[in-house]
């Protein structure tokens, strides 16, 4: 009997179901659990109170990233609450027998950077983390999604989660990307099209030749922002690019097991004719370098464009939302994006903090200077990214251009450490959220690609990287 064609998501979901429960939820087995310091203290406390152990310490990795300082590590963490969170993670890791990559470990970095980098995230796995950008790991063809702290505790205790099966959404981008158009622009274009709630209730699979040709780093940038389109998870089918990326990574299967794993991974891509509940298509040729103007990632315009006018929006709530965003951002309809001056530039985060991002940044920065009055920061996503960038001399190029070159962490993506905007400051940022106050209370964020971030640093205002003479 021929089996029904299944999507990549269907295959991973089906193979991880411990059982379907009578109420229609599934008990889903979790292969890998990544834990950081912000969303786990209450979960470990819950375990302690109930005298529970961690069910699979061997499948759990802990790393501090949100609170860590990105300069003067030797001085420790000055902010007391931040220090307590980081120290508590280390204590919890010890008490429950979990692997911990501490601040002085070169493997330390943003949880979503180090997972793939270490080979901890592999095709066909289920991966969770108490963090909404866990979708990043879907780039290797794993079902990876963010969970809350109660669920973190549930996974620690049982290695399972109770979940309702999400729907399948296919986002197809075919054609060839234009000059200066990066994976960041692709995902911003997708979010601009589907809206920030467009993927709610769905898992997105990114298909089409644009993703087939895209590097692993680029796929991670795309999958990372799935949640900004409302989807809990994003997936790219594993292929030769995936396997080449994973081979030889510290936690990737070793010789012998590798061949066995590879044979399995090759069965994962969606079957021809598999059903998707929703399909969205974009033509690669229509995607241009993008920038956000407001306080939601769907507020995108081409860098060559102008601030939209709320009066043109027919829906009242949306119109009010736009007005509120313009008010917060201190911007007026009709203003050319390239006329907007920036105070700050931030290159980093789990969206764009990988080696390719710093290569792209350095390529634009080379021989140029950051505009006077602009503070520009480059924050590698992990100790290993930092090390590699330094081997390649990227740090020197960025430093010479006037960037700061810092220690790895989340940094100004969400401003839990000292790296934050002051009220009213405007930043071109390679991170993923332009929410009000995201980069510091009163701070104003414009999301861009690494190349465009450097272009903004050099011009002193939002700028089209293609126009840089």
């Amino acid at each position: 009997m021929a089996t029904k064609p299944r999507t990549l998501f269907d295959k991973i979901w089906d193979s991880h179901l411990v059982e379907m429960q009578p109420d229609g939820t599934g008990l889903l087995y979790i292969d890998r659990h990544l834990v950081h310091e912000v969303t786990s203290p209450q979960a470990f406390e819950g375990l302690r109170v109930a005298h529970r152990k961690v069910h699979r310490p061997d499948a759990t990795i802990t790393v501090p990233d949100h609170n860590v300082p990105t300069s003067n590590r030797a001085g420790g963490i000055k902010d007391e609450e931040s220090r307590i969170q980081v120290e508590l993670l280390e204590r919890n890791a010890k008490e429950f027998g979990l692997t911990y990559f501490g601040m002085d470990d070169i493997r330390q970095g943003i949880v979503h950077i180090i997972g793939p980098e270490q080979g901890l995230t592999q095709p066909g796995m289920t991966i969770v983390c108490g963090d909404s950008h866990t979708a990043t790991h879907g780039a290797v063809g794993a079902l990876a999604f963010g969970i809350g702290t109660s669920e973190v505790e549930h996974v620690l205790a049982t290695q399972t989660l109770i979940q309702r099966r999400p729907k399948n959404m296919k986002v197809e981008v075919n054609g060839t990307l234009g000059l200066g158009v990066t994976p960041k622009d692709v995902i911003l274009a997708i979010i601009g099209k589907i809206g920030i709630a467009g993927g709610t209730g769905h898992v997105i699979e990114y298909t089409g030749d644009v993703f087939r040709r895209m590097s692993m780093e680029g796929r991670m940038t795309v999958c990372n922002m799935s949640i900004e389109g409302g989807a809990r998870a994003g997936l790219v089918a594993p292929d030769a690019i995936t396997f080449d990326y994973l081979k030889g990574r510290p936690y990737a299967p070793k010789a012998g097991a590798w061949e066995q794993a590879l044979a399995f991974w090759k069965t994962l891509p969606s079957d021809p004719g598999a059903h998707y509940d929703t399909t969205v298509s974009l033509d690669a040729a229509t995607i241009v370098p993008l920038v956000t103007w407001g306080n939601k990632p769907e507020h995108v315009v081409p860098i060559t464009g102008v601030i939209p006018n709320p009066d043109d929006e027919p829906d009242e709530e949306r119109r009010n939302g736009m007005r509120r965003a313009l008010d917060y951002m201190a911007l007026k309809p009709g203003t050319k994006m390239t006329d907007i001056a920036v105070d700050h530039v931030f290159i980093g985060s789990c969206t764009n903090g990988r080696i390719e991002d710093f290569r792209a940044a350095a390529a634009v920065a080379k021989g140029r200077k950051v505009a006077p009055g602009v503070r520009a920061m480059a924050v590698p996503g992990s100790g290993l990214v930092k090390h590699q960038a330094e081997e390649e001399g990227l740090d020197k190029i960025l430093l010479e251009a006037g960037f700061e070159w810092r220690e790895p962490g989340c940094s100004m993506c969400l401003a839990m450490n000292d790296d934050k905007l002051k009220p009213g400051e405007r930043c071109a940022s390679t991170s993923n959220r332009n929410f009000e106050g995201r980069q510091g209370p009163g701070g104003r964020t414009h999301l861009v690609s690494p190349a465009m971030a450097v272009a903004a640093a050099i011009a002193g205002k939002l700028a089209d990287v293609r126009q840089l003479g």
Partner: protein
């Protein structure tokens, strides 16, 4: 977790679309290692002025709504991060029910785990309830989870749908981890099969 049956209380109007988790509780308040105490910083950036004093224009600072137990909000409430601090802050403030046309996925799950009932209703009904909520001290709604009804100030009744699994979890206040632990045998059997099929996943990550 507190058991949930009915709530009768003041509903506060928050007619904003896409209320995100950074708005509900900004990142700088995530440094706590406890679940309690976040209520004072709920909607911090809207509730307080930069000098720390209350913003009298924000709905929860208005006398009629200071003890609101119900929020009526715009679509896609709770979008953004997975931080459970968002429902913890709502709960600590005293919010037991949020009514909106739609909710973000992770926030949805997190809220129910903390005894907060989220009710998704069509936009037109939310609009009516929003009008009710704007009635200040008279903005009293009764939400009954057993009968799945909302009673409006004029006495009329609105029905709502709810996932039976979530409903039971709220009414009984169940310990989900405890329930899953009863599946020890099934989980063990699954693991034996998985270990045989994909042995490379069982090499310790250390």
């Amino acid at each position: 977790m507190d058991k949930f049956t009915t709530v009768t209380g003041v509903a506060a109007p928050l007619p904003t679309i896409n209320v995100d988790t950074d708005m509900i509780i900004p990142a700088r308040f995530l440094k706590t290692i406890q679940r309690k105490g976040l209520g004072k910083n709920l909607f911090d950036a809207q509730r307080y002025k930069p000098d720390g004093t209350e913003n009298p224009d924000f709905v929860l600072n208005k006398p009629a709504y200071r003890k609101a137990q119900i929020l009526v909000a715009g679509p896609n409430f709770g979008c953004g991060s997975s931080r459970e601090h968002a429902p913890w802050a709502l709960q600590d403030f005293g919010i037991r029910v949020v009514i909106a046309p739609s909710f973000a996925d992770i926030f949805y799950g997190n809220s129910f785990k903390n005894g907060i009932l989220l009710i998704a209703l069509p936009q037109e009904i939310c609009d009516q309830l929003m009008d009710d909520a704007k009635k200040g001290a008279n903005a009293r709604l009764t939400v009954d989870l057993e009968t799945q009804t909302i009673t409006r100030p004029d006495g009329s009744v609105v029905k709502f749908d709810i996932d039976p699994f979530r409903r039971e979890a709220l009414i009984d206040g169940i310990d989900e981890i405890g329930l899953t632990e009863q599946k020890r045998v099934e989980i063990g059997a699954f693991e034996d099969k998985a270990r045989a099929a994909q042995p490379w996943l069982w090499v310790p990550a250390r």
